[in-house]
Symmetry: C2
Subunit: 319 residues, 2 copies
């Protein structure tokens, strides 16, 4: 038996900062939660996060702090390696800084891994012995949880399904390679494909054109809304992206045969046309005998924050 | 402390049956080893294997028996599911039969998983915390070893890199799908591609034509020999197969980021042209930060047998 612990969970997202407090004896809901928009440099984001954290703590001392960061981290050194969105994070000792500020042990993880653990512990992957989590939003990230632990791999880069190459001659990816899952299935690539199709098919995509008259302002969300309103061009674009994601997931099923695959991120909310194409592709690609259990995420944007809480719970010794 | 144990290792290969005995206190070499050609039905293979085993035992009682089988098995039920080469193995209780015959506990594994464990414990993967093993011969198989244990996945089908689809419109695979790694990189596909190229390029591939005047008798081994003798057509065929294998391995590195990849099987002995194409492809496909450690297998045809011994050692409690 041990006394309840106060777990502070922090999420440094690309656009939002969140801080939450949870009691280890009642993990069903946050005691307090605070959120603000992210700013454009690392230093001011850290200051804003510390204010949020103090607000969430309300004078209490946390027993452990879990941090999800939207970018690559060095888990064992508790450092941020860099952010693709915000300058100033290069090789930043975030663990040390937070520990000095709040006098509690700190654990740091990238957001896809944290979200994977969050979904495993509190969301759509509860109780699975092996879980692959894939998040599809601006980019495509992933993480996998094996026997309740994040599987990081030899260089901390396991689960990078977004950078699995599925079309070697395909479009250039943010990582510089060609034909990664991310270059074909991300929100940015959905917007790009829709723009290209609108340009070559002047008589199609009317609902999409009405939603976004300026093609340069087109987003994956608009494509998804148009598709759900029956726009066939938008549906084709989504189906193509879903098939590309399905190829990556099919490869993952062949290699790691996880018990369940959980799909999160904004693009995963693109409706039935998207999910049908995804399921169809995956079923076409797997060996007989591999059970396909592909479900939507349950925790939405809070998955990394819940994952950060789960990491901190492990750190503090609470179960 | 415990007394030395006698470990019997059996390998039911597609073309050969092998039985070996090893002493748990001297794992460097077999005490005895016997091998015969496989026959064409399950029953007579089992009888031949029991004779071999008695020969290897020389009157001793084994403490544990490890079995590698060339085809899918149900690990926990200790049953063979089927053989792709030999009739009569369908849902066969091989574990029970051998246990009744030799009065020792039996553990059964498919050959790719057994070979992966063999290379991890005794061969090119010694000491690796995570190892992906790939065997390229008639087909393409794989297995991976995580913290010293075979990772089987939710349905016992993890590590099936041969049936990862990398070219959805590609040639039909033995499994019925299209564009699997096996359909593009196996020995059979190398022979098929060479035959096709010889047919469309009547003035190329002279060394290969001399080695195998009858195209229908062409093998991957002949292609490899011709390539090593400088035949450019044969080299192109091998490079294409190596690139396809490299695509599968690149995807595996993105997903599981293993510490090392060990490549075995007859095709992996195809020489420098093959290995260079394989290494080049893999290096092109991985994210910066992922260390590529790709090495040839060390145990050759004995890998499954050593893996069977390692399984039996775990079973008997010897380390």
């Amino acid at each position: 038996m041990h006394s309840p612990e106060m777990i502070l969970a922090l999420d440094f997202g690309g656009t939002k900062l969140s801080a939450s407090l949870v009691n280890s004896e009642n993990l069903k809901q946050w005691l307090r939660k605070a959120r603000v928009s992210a700013t454009s440099d690392a230093r001011s984001n850290i200051e804003a996060m510390c204010r949020l954290a103090r607000q969430a703590l309300g004078g209490r001392i946390p027993n452990a702090i879990g941090v999800s960061f939207g970018g690559p981290v060095d888990f064992s050194a508790r450092r941020v390696l860099l952010s693709h969105h915000v300058p100033g994070w290069e090789n930043f000792p975030l663990g040390d800084v937070l520990q000095a500020e709040f006098h509690a042990p700190v654990i740091i993880e990238n957001d896809a891994n944290a979200a994977a653990l969050g979904e495993w512990r509190f969301g759509a992957g509860k109780g699975c012995s092996s879980l692959l989590y894939v998040t599809v939003s601006t980019g495509v990230g992933g993480g996998w949880v094996l026997d309740g632990k994040i599987f990081r791999g030899a260089n901390g880069l396991a689960g990078e399904i977004g950078h699995m190459v599925i079309q070697p001659e395909g479009p250039v990816c943010s990582c510089g390679k060609r034909g990664c899952v991310e270059a074909l299935a991300s929100g940015l690539s959905i917007a790009r494909d829709a723009r290209e199709m609108l340009a070559v098919e002047p008589h199609e995509g009317m609902p999409l054109r009405q939603l976004t008259p300026d093609p340069s302002a087109l987003t994956a969300e608009a494509v998804s809304r148009a598709a759900q309103a029956g726009d066939q061009l938008a549906q084709k674009v989504l189906q193509k992206a879903a098939s590309a994601l399905g190829c990556g997931i099919g490869a993952a099923l062949a290699l790691i045969n996880p018990q369940r695959v959980v799909i999160g991120g904004g693009v995963s909310k693109s409706g039935e046309v998207y999910w049908r194409a995804l399921q169809d592709t995956v079923h076409t690609l797997v060996l007989p005998g591999v059970r396909v259990d592909l479900v939507p995420a349950a925790l939405s944007d809070d998955a990394p924050l819940w994952g950060a809480a789960a990491l901190a719970l492990n750190l503090s010794g609470s179960v």
